[in-house]
Symmetry: C2
Subunit: 298 residues, 2 copies
Amino acid sequence: MMVAEFLEHQGARIDAFLDSVLPPECAEPAELHRAVRYTVFAGGKRFRPTLAIAVCGALGGDDGACVPAAAALEMIHVSSLIHDDLPCMDDSDVRRGRPSCHKAFGESTAVLAGDWLLVHPFELVARQVELGVLPASVAVDVTAVLARAVCSRGIIAGQVEDLRAESQVIGPDELERIHVLKTAALIEAAASVGAAVAQAPAELREASRRGARALGLCFQVVDDLLDVIGDTAALGKPTGADERQSKNTYVSFFGLDGARRRADALADEALSCLSTLPPSEWLGRLRDLVHFVVRRTT
Amino acid sequence: MMVAEFLEHQGARIDAFLDSVLPPECAEPAELHRAVRYTVFAGGKRFRPTLAIAVCGALGGDDGACVPAAAALEMIHVSSLIHDDLPCMDDSDVRRGRPSCHKAFGESTAVLAGDWLLVHPFELVARQVELGVLPASVAVDVTAVLARAVCSRGIIAGQVEDLRAESQVIGPDELERIHVLKTAALIEAAASVGAAVAQAPAELREASRRGARALGLCFQVVDDLLDVIGDTAALGKPTGADERQSKNTYVSFFGLDGARRRADALADEALSCLSTLPPSEWLGRLRDLVHFVVRRTT
């Protein structure tokens, strides 16, 4: 199976699950649920949940049991996109080629849809205990991992520092710190969620966490590269935005070649962490995901 | 002990705990943590956490083990106040006699501080398992109760419907539905959290939940009354605001006497639910809390 096919297969699995657990658009309050579904089903690659499922499988866990926790990760990711796009934040009118949530549903509904997608994951994970999908201790573990990736060592802290950086001169270390918080923390959490569901021993859990952290940073470096060399139509957003907004990026600090070398080094680091995992078909998929991230064009 | 003294004692206990678990103002990102502490320590009565602790005690649980989950309830309550005050929501510049969070820290920090206070509670509750304060099954139970009180059957849904009601003619049933979601759901959750920590049998859990739901509605009816007959200085917010904004309230539907009768009936309903609980000193405190809510002047 090619990596594109693997991503598509896992993405369809996550989408089917999300569709089954998100309230229908007709359920009250209908505008809230419409906004939630509009943004969740805007066509993401489902990279984070796919990573969680692959890590769970590679560490010997039941990949099916990981689907709800993986879907929870995706909801949190979508929530952060909604709040980041708000006028008081990055003020983005377009997301994935269509109007962002607040443009389509108004600002108050967007704030509340983001809040909903930030909290519902915790209900979803807790419910898996009742359903017999996860033992209580694993649900607690997953809850802690998810909440940490959001708060002071995660996406909220990253957004605060990113907004502050707009009005300050920052160096490459500070840029990397922001990206670790804004992007790598949730990708790292994806691996930790997979490892938690697999109830993997500490050293394997740590190896996959470190690998995912490098992969998360690699993901962001490639994002910066694509903003310069990518194709507007394929990406669903205008390229060159970073330069127009004089944003600090890996490219502005290190140039195209330097940024490309950094991405390759981070991918190598991720692969080297993976080399400590037991060989399996899932491990092959994980390696494919690393190659996919570093070579992606959208 | 008088009820004021009891509330003060439990409030101080919650405050000390919150102070110990919230990141210090100097921890990065400092403006985020300053905004969180500014709003958490703006002087609330800590009614919800106190109710959770009292229910836990009355159902034979260890009240000390309930403090973290009770503090989690308060963080969620404060988060909802921050987001409700935003310009795109109720646009309130003043909260508890001082500038609201977005007036003091800017809109983006307020959105993110609200997000932080919405998610950190789940980390806090999960951490109690590691610390040996709560069994994993209880932490999962508390997590589910908290998340449900926030999402489609709780404060987010209530805020969506409240905003919609501003531009529509609604009747008293619709008003009560909004109040059940916006106010009663989290007060009901407080009782359920206390009962979960106490690991109480289903029928006692249900009785305290129903009692708290009536108490939560009573709380809101009295709120509407105080907006008409209360003292601006004592309340820390201007009275008469509902009438100026032509808001639908219990008073506008039923008049002062009708609203007062509704508050008394709800308090009686709460007391009747409590009468099925085993007698104890904590039960006396719970009864005192009901009387406090229905007679409160601030």
